[in-house]
């Protein structure tokens, strides 16, 4: 079968690549030929993804990374360059739904606002700043940031998470402008409804805070949300996001920058 091996010989770093959407992205890029650095804090899950990638025939390793610290993302980039000699793709995927215990709170605390901003927004800035000089010097690079459809418009509910994801779109545009003339594309993907550890937390939060959901399991809450809000009538998967990221990170998307692409079965149309 004909397969576009867009990433043969290339190297990608995926922050938050150990689980959920990040894992889907890492596996997809690896399947298309890329070496993939799994930059995460969850060592055990990360090592499983690394083993899966290696079994598929490309190279991978786990890099313990705290994206909220510039020194840590600097180390992440430096190590990747040392290991593979080049860095072609950065996927800023690491994200959180709130600070610990957020699933039991009705309203976000200041700690939730801070945690979502630190990881979902400033983590993206740190990752980008760490790779920026190298990519500019090289005159080539692809950066893909993972936002969310909840970043497209404000709604009642967990405003702190949604606001951080809106900021992620804005940050993507700012760096797209800044880096465009250097041959670097910066785009965002806005995933819809995906059954990941993060969504499990959201479902737990809904169960704890909304009486209508009290008798339901987290998975039932998720499925009800899918059937009520997805025109295509099905949930999205980490693989879907991986494929959209692979497109935007490939040279097939060479003239696309500053865009945010919803992968959401039609929930929100832009």
């Amino acid at each position: 079968m004909y397969l576009t091996m867009d990433f043969e010989g290339k190297t990608a770093v995926v922050t938050g690549g150990a689980r959920g959407i990040g894992r889907g992205i890492a596996l997809e890029l690896a399947a298309l030929g890329s070496n993939v650095v799994i930059a995460d804090m969850a060592e055990e899950s990360a090592r499983e993804v690394v083993a899966e990638i290696k079994a598929g025939g490309t190279r991978s390793y786990y890099c313990e990374t705290d994206v909220t610290q510039q020194w840590s993302t600097d180390d992440m980039v430096e190590a990747a360059l040392e290991e593979y000699g080049q860095l072609d793709v950065l996927v800023n995927n690491a994200g959180v739904g709130g600070s610990s215990g957020f699933t039991t709170r009705k309203k976000p605390l200041v700690e939730d606002w801070q945690a979502t901003f630190d990881v979902n927004v400033y983590g993206m800035v740190n990752g980008t700043q760490s790779v920026e000089k190298y990519m500019v010097d090289r005159g080539y690079g692809k950066i893909v940031n993972i936002s969310s459809i909840s970043g497209r418009v404000g709604r009642s509910g967990f405003a702190s998470y949604a606001a951080s994801k809106a900021a992620a779109i804005n940050v993507s545009q700012a760096w797209a402008y800044k880096l465009a003339s250097h041959g670097i594309n910066v785009n965002a993907v806005c995933p819809g409804l995906i059954w990941t550890p993060l969504w499990q937390d959201i479902a737990k939060w809904r169960k704890a805070t909304d009486e209508q959901n009290a008798g339901m399991t987290p998975r039932q809450i998720f499925q009800q949300t899918v059937s009520e809000s997805v025109p295509l009538g099905r949930e999205q998967t980490p693989e879907d996001i991986g494929k959209a990221v692979a497109f935007l990170a490939s040279d097939r998307a060479r003239s696309i920058t500053g865009q945010a692409l919803n992968v959401d079965g039609g929930i929100r149309m832009n």
């Binding site: 465009a180 879907d240 959209a244 497109f247 998307a253 003239s255 992968v263």
Partner: protein, 266 residues
């Protein structure tokens, strides 16, 4: 991305962006029906496709004519099989002579809307039954960055392309339950015969570009408006079309994707 055994229909497929889309899909193995009002050019492109994927057909189509669109849908089934992909690319920028006028006439408004919007709806209506029956299909509509926000001197064209984005969303909602996705692409600045007309019009009508050749207007706009500092190409657009029709994009619908070097971000 392997389209072997799949059937694609491309309106306005004989020249320009449409031709690049035709060649891209054929290169990945699809059988392609080229629908164009220009019969001669369509035959030339069809012969090129036959060389690549071994299967092609051409059908003279005026998208403003409902009967012609229904004829196209039937001819597609008869010659290459039911359509898996429909690429609504046919479009115009004004009524004859528009590029040397300094304002949009009623004819410009009506003809542009008729071809770009009603024509798109005509073709989609003619093909949707084939897709609904098989519970599968991909539709990609060609809009424009001009449809993202108003452009000076191009009000009639810009409005028609905004309507294309809206039509894409409505169609996406209507067809989602049949597992049919509908998305749009908004090309930025491409040096095609159509943009030559736009450059001509700007040189006549926009003070900043007065007295320039169309190509000078184009180059000036690239320098001023495109963050990536280079023009886009028909191949850039074709690559985005290939993504939307592939399985990779099976959970993407109702979206409009700008392929514009960062001209307009959203």
């Amino acid at each position: 991305m392997n389209f072997t055994g799949q059937v694609a229909v491309v309106t306005g497929g004989a020249t320009g962006i449409g031709r690049a889309i035709v060649l891209k899909l054929a290169d990945k193995g699809a059988a392609v029906m080229i629908a164009d009002i220009n019969e001669e050019a369509a035959e030339v492109t069809a012969a090129e496709v036959a060389e690549i994927s071994g299967s092609s057909s051409a059908f003279t189509t005026d998208v403003t004519n409902v009967a012609a669109c229904e004829g196209l849908a039937q001819a597609t089934i008869d010659s290459v099989g039911p359509a898996d992909f429909l690429i609504n690319n046919a479009g115009i920028a004004g009524s004859p002579g528009w590029q040397t006028r300094s304002h949009s006439t009623e004819d410009d408004w009506k003809l542009t809307y008729h071809v770009n919007v009603i024509g798109m709806s005509n073709v989609t209506s003619a093909f949707q039954q084939q897709m609904i029956k098989r519970r599968s299909g991909r539709i990609v509509n060609l809009a424009s960055v001009a449809g993202r926000e108003g452009r000076p001197s191009l009000s009639h064209y810009s409005a028609s392309k905004a309507a294309v984005i809206s039509l894409t969303q409505s169609t996406a909602l209507e067809l989602a339950r049949f597992n049919i996705t509908v998305n749009a692409i908004c090309p930025g600045l491409l040096w095609t015969p159509m943009w030559e007309q736009v450059g001509d019009r700007y040189a006549h009508d926009v003070p900043a570009y007065e007295g320039m050749t169309p190509r000078q207007v184009f180059d000036t706009m690239i320098a001023e408006k495109i963050p990536m500092q280079k023009e886009q190409t028909p191949e850039d657009v074709a690559d985005a079309v290939a993504f939307f029709v592939s399985d990779d994009a099976k959970n993407i619908t109702g979206q409009a994707l700008n392929v514009d070097g960062g001209f307009y971000m959203r």
